[in-house]
Subunit: 264 residues, 3 copies
């Protein structure tokens, strides 16, 4: 489960109640419920860093849904055996290969992409699977939870609705190459204050220098190597700016969307 | 589990350890642990919005307990097959039908109500089910968790202690009707900043106008219909004041207990 | 699971994904993920208050690890049947008897202690149990989660690496006796603002007075006995300073590390 519901309400608990009512054997794991409200890009990034570490039978439900109650589609798809369920707003982008998502030009915005023929995706439209009456504000409870329980209990994806050949997706997370180096940006700030960028570890070398807001940082291999702010290839494969035993976001006054350049 | 323990301590984890030690097959679900400290009314409201979505075999444990260590009773009751356990301070009100709880006059305060004869409720007094020594400050660990594990593992409710025919309950969540409309108030503010009132969706019509602090809001059906602050019948069946893609509590400077009138 | 990962990232969820991929039957319980970043002492204290309440087959994984990526050891040990896994930085101290940990002189700092011969502890070094490639920043995912899954699924502790006879440990949590009474300090501040000290309940009497920052507090038995700030022997067996239905840390302006003396 990945949502922007926070932990002070009972919304997440209610979704779990619905799932366990229909599929009592389900193992429930929280990815995060602290996504910024309606931050579909952040949800897509967190899902990308997480999904490959789950069992091949996992079902991921993402409810970060600014368009709840409107005519936007709800979708489900299968990637590497795992099933992804959520609104069609880009939050499920991580399930798609980078080449399907395409390259980023400037900032990230969801765009319709054409799905490869071997990827099964459907539009969730079968009302017999929904809870009734259907709330206009809490489809997590009335649509996504019962549909997730249905497939977790062995239901077939094509029972959910008609097959689709397009969906909304964010461009692949990868800083584009410009004449003066890679033009990265901060995608996420983690609990420790590390600035996680879209610069891929595979695209940099030991001599690359990272520049943000006039500061310059070297690349190090571990936090233990230095006591000064530095760049490191983080656990999700992207370069992050860190202050050893400190909070880079506070120290550097940096935020999501800030530019970080990687110069050879 | 529904508590005001927060997530920075190990209190909730310890309760789960106790439950799993006694009833290893229990599935544990968190409703919320972010209830405001000692806010029994908020706990009662969250429980009301949640419990019907859980399996018919669910056991709900509410530990929001300003009187911990004093002589207040601890109770357990059965409603619609589900079992509710907690201190006798109103936090379990949601398990009772509205007609038993009675109507609200002004603000909400717990009052003793007489239980219908077909509702089984007991006072938890059997010390052989408690952990020893009994802490004066953490009955969640030493009383409520072991008792919940006992009934979750199939123990009989009447083993817990003598039957009771009265308990503390908050009046039913419903705004009373005055000469100029419904006299509602804000019961809860959710993660998104929505102001959830005690005005029931069934008591309003498409032309009802909602008034708080001099502001007037129309009733809409979905967040997508408007970009302005509006009232909507929320997922729990109560009217809430929302700012689409914004935070109504911040925008309107509103708080729990604020009056919201519904005028025809 | 006990970490300083917070709840806004997917780090904890990813560890759970890894564990369930290897050991699908594992029951996962969160002790806390809100330990202050890199606060190994706080982690050790929370673990001490919690671990005896878990089943005898429990596996505790503590990832509060300022030295991640450096040459510090990773260890695993068995105490009372339960298994403890984490970095060798003191966070697993709670698994050791007080006499092994020794007495505190002034503040708490981890020191190498010699383990009794009947206590099985190993250095985690077997690379075939780790995920590859090994991240320099997220050993929770690549080392501790797979190792925990290995032992949770029945793997033998000695498969993890060579036996060790020393580990880092904090002195036993106990205020030392001075000529004018016990010289305690605040170890932890809980969600309710209670100041939890290292003064053991067994070391005080009904007439002990507690002194911090010029304030003097009596010892009471329950929060219900008084409406004024007071000391109480808390649920973990240590004296805590509490303000009934209030927040002692805010009211008294107190923090972790503050001295609290207990005078007869």
């Amino acid at each position: 489960l990945l949502t922007d519901f926070g932990s002070s309400d009972a919304y997440v608990g209610v979704m779990k109640g619905v799932i366990l009512s229909q599929a009592p054997q389900t193992r429930l794991v929280d990815l995060s419920h602290e996504v910024e409200p309606q931050a579909t890009l952040e949800a897509a990034f967190l899902l990308q860093t997480a999904w490959r570490y789950f069992p091949a039978t996992a079902v991921f439900v993402c409810v970060v849904d600014p368009g709840v109650g409107t005519a936007r589609r709800r979708i489900a798809l299968i990637a590497d055996g795992r099933i992804f369920i959520g609104p069609d707003n880009g939050c499920l982008s991580a399930a798609l290969p980078d080449e399907v998502r395409g390259a980023r030009a400037n900032a990230y915005a969801p765009l319709p992409v054409t799905l490869p023929p071997d990827l099964l995706a459907v539009s969730i439209e079968n009302p017999t699977l929904f809870r009734r009456p259907l709330s206009a504000t809490f489809e997590g409870r009335d649509v996504f939870a019962p549909v997730a329980a249905y497939v977790a209990a062995g239901g077939t994806l094509t029972d959910l609705g008609p097959r689709i050949d397009q969906m909304q997706a964010f461009p692949a997370f990868a800083a584009p190459r410009r004449s003066d180096g890679l033009d990265g940006l901060v995608l996420h700030i983690d609990t420790f204050g590390n600035l996680i960028t879209d610069i891929r570890g595979a695209d940099v070398t030991a001599t690359t220098t990272f520049v943000t807001q006039g500061w310059r940082f070297p690349l190090v291999h571990t936090y233990g190597e230095t006591k000064r702010p530095a760049a490191i290839v983080g656990s999700s494969g992207f370069v992050e700016i860190a202050v050893p035993n400190g909070n880079a976001a506070l120290v550097l006054g940096a935020g999501i969307g800030d530019r970080v350049r990687a110069v050879p």
